[in-house]
């Protein structure tokens, strides 16, 4: 199970923005990764596919130090992130933003205060500049005028969009999407997919999307990586993924279910 994509991104390709090399991770006795290796290149949208409980979210959470790895190397912008303390991670987190699966908006704060939260922490500018930035990012995600609302007043799709607005507020170079379309209705799924694509086009950001939503995957991805058997079993373009011979990958793409132990955590 080599990585066919190496040929496509191959020689002359720019240096990876993000690299996972031989990463190991276990929770107690449960081994999540034995030898996960993956490279993400500037400006691309890479989707990580995998069944529930295979550790897709764990992989991106290790990248920004929300979880600690057990072995191997994780690099962002050429810099090893695994040994960084919280202060060092702060630098990484200004450049890599994350949209959480549950959007993770702060319930007690308004939409505006939620988006200002990272701006304040990173001392983005004056209050007026921050207010302008809030207006700007809310327009980007198609929610102008929602500044004064509380998260409890928003639907699931709106919460995701506000979460995305909060993530892009500090102009990150990389955006991590954790299950961005899970639990949303088809219209909101399409809207989120559209946002992922437009942010890549307008801001030139590099994106890593973690999902098990195949439609979303083929809509937004430049490349696709498949998590299986505690490592990245396959990476390739959308076309390569469609024609991939690896049984598990084919099974996954066809939406086969009920026959694989790994689907059940």
């Amino acid at each position: 199970m080599d990585e066919p994509s190496e040929a496509t991104t191959g020689a002359g390709a720019p240096n990876p923005v993000i690299e996972f090399i031989g990463v190991k991770k276990a929770f107690g006795a449960k081994v999540i990764f034995e030898d996960a290796t993956l490279a993400v290149y500037p400006g691309e949208t890479l989707t990580i596919l995998g069944g529930s409980g295979t550790g897709k979210s764990v992989l991106i959470k290790m990248l920004i130090g929300l979880l600690r790895h057990d072995g191997g190397s994780i690099k962002a912008f050429g810099q090893e992130v695994t040994g960084l303390d919280e202060r060092g991670l702060l630098q990484i987190r200004t450049r890599i933003a994350m949209l959480f699966q549950s959007a993770a908006l702060f319930d007690s704060l308004t939409v505006e205060q939620n988006i200002k939260y990272p701006l304040r922490e990173h001392k983005w500018g004056t209050d007026a500049e921050m207010t302008d930035r809030v207006t700007e990012v809310l327009e980007m995600v198609g929610m102008p005028g929602s500044q004064k609302l509380k998260p409890s007043q928003l639907s699931g799709g709106m919460r995701k969009r506000v979460g995305l607005a909060r993530a892009i507020a500090i102009q990150p170079e990389v955006i991590l999407y954790d299950e961005p379309t899970t639990g949303l209705d088809p219209i909101n799924v399409r809207r989120i997919n559209g946002l992922i694509l437009s942010l890549q086009a307008r801001l030139g950001v590099t994106s890593i999307v973690v999902t098990h939503d195949m439609d979303s995957c083929f809509t937004v991805s430049d490349r696709i990586a498949m998590l299986y058997d505690r490592r990245i079993a396959f990476t390739g373009t959308a076309d390569e993924t469609q024609t991939c011979e690896i049984p598990y990958v084919r099974e996954f793409i066809r939406g086969g279910r009920g026959t694989l132990d790994e689907d059940v955590s």
């Binding site: 959470k61 929300l66 991670l89 200004t94 959480f100 549950s102 993770a104 908006l105 702060f106 909060r166």
Partner: protein
């Protein structure tokens, strides 16, 4: 899943590590005033009624028992002295800590636990902030400030409760009762109780937050954390009360 003693030791270690991080957070950055004031209101001011209620009935029952108990030996006129000492040195600080600990500590565990399972604590870190500074510091500081104040309230209300029952049961005047109280209580007794309440405040805050931050397992986990916080805080208060009292008695009598 660890159980029994190993869980106890790992939790104690976890609380110690959290305490070190907390002290570091206090030194690293100025304390944010708005969340501190909010927590002072939530943990302190809104706990006054439960504190007063506990204290008044404790003072009354203490007076009742001492009055009837001491009467057998003809010592019932000493009731005021014993009520004052019992309230100020022991029951004021300890019962306040147990009640406020249950009320406030469970709240901390539930709130922080929900934030953990909804990824909000991860989000705080991902957005470049420190959950210890943002969430734990204001809560712990609010408890450290609030508990001695609530204990003072409990002392006053408890003694007043004792006064009413002593007057009725023993037949002493209020003047006599108060002269007994002021003759008996010294600065050492007050400091003994208030000193302990400082520690209790710290334990309530830090244990409640620790349990909340270590929540796993979704909404079910939040429920378990809430229960665990009350149990752990109560145990911590009761055990540390004995240890602290032993130390204070050895030092100051």
């Amino acid at each position: 899943m660890m159980t029994g003693p190993s869980r106890l030791f790992s939790d104690a270690g976890g609380v110690a590590i959290l305490s070190v991080k907390l002290v570091a957070a206090f030194f690293r950055a100025p304390i944010e005033l708005a969340p501190l004031m909010y927590q002072l209101d939530y943990s302190g001011i809104r706990s006054w009624s439960i504190t007063a209620l506990t204290a008044v009935f404790t003072g009354m029952v203490l007076a009742l028992q001492f009055a009837t108990g001491l009467e057998r030996y003809g010592g019932d006129t000493y009731t005021g002295k014993l009520v004052a000492l019992g309230i100020v040195r022991e029951l004021g600080p300890t019962l306040t800590a147990l009640l406020v600990g249950g009320r406030v500590g469970s709240g901390f565990a539930a709130e922080l636990g929900s934030m953990v399972v909804n990824e909000q604590v991860d989000a705080i870190r991902a957005l470049g902030a420190d959950p210890i500074k943002k969430l734990v510091a204001p809560r712990v500081l609010a408890c450290i400030i609030a508990l001695p104040l609530l204990t003072m309230l409990a002392n006053v209300v408890g003694i007043l409760g004792g006064l009413v029952i002593t007057m009725r049961e023993v037949g002493v005047t209020a003047t006599f009762f108060f002269s007994q109280v002021t003759d008996t209580l010294g600065a050492v007794d007050l400091l003994h109780g208030l000193g302990k309440s400082l520690f209790f405040g710290y334990f309530i805050g830090v244990v409640g937050c620790f349990v909340g931050l270590n929540t796993t397992g979704g909404t079910e986990g939040v429920g378990q954390s809430t229960t665990l916080a009350v149990v752990n805080i109560s145990i911590t208060v009761l055990v540390s009360n004995f240890l602290l009292s032993t130390i204070f008695v050895a030092l100051y009598g």
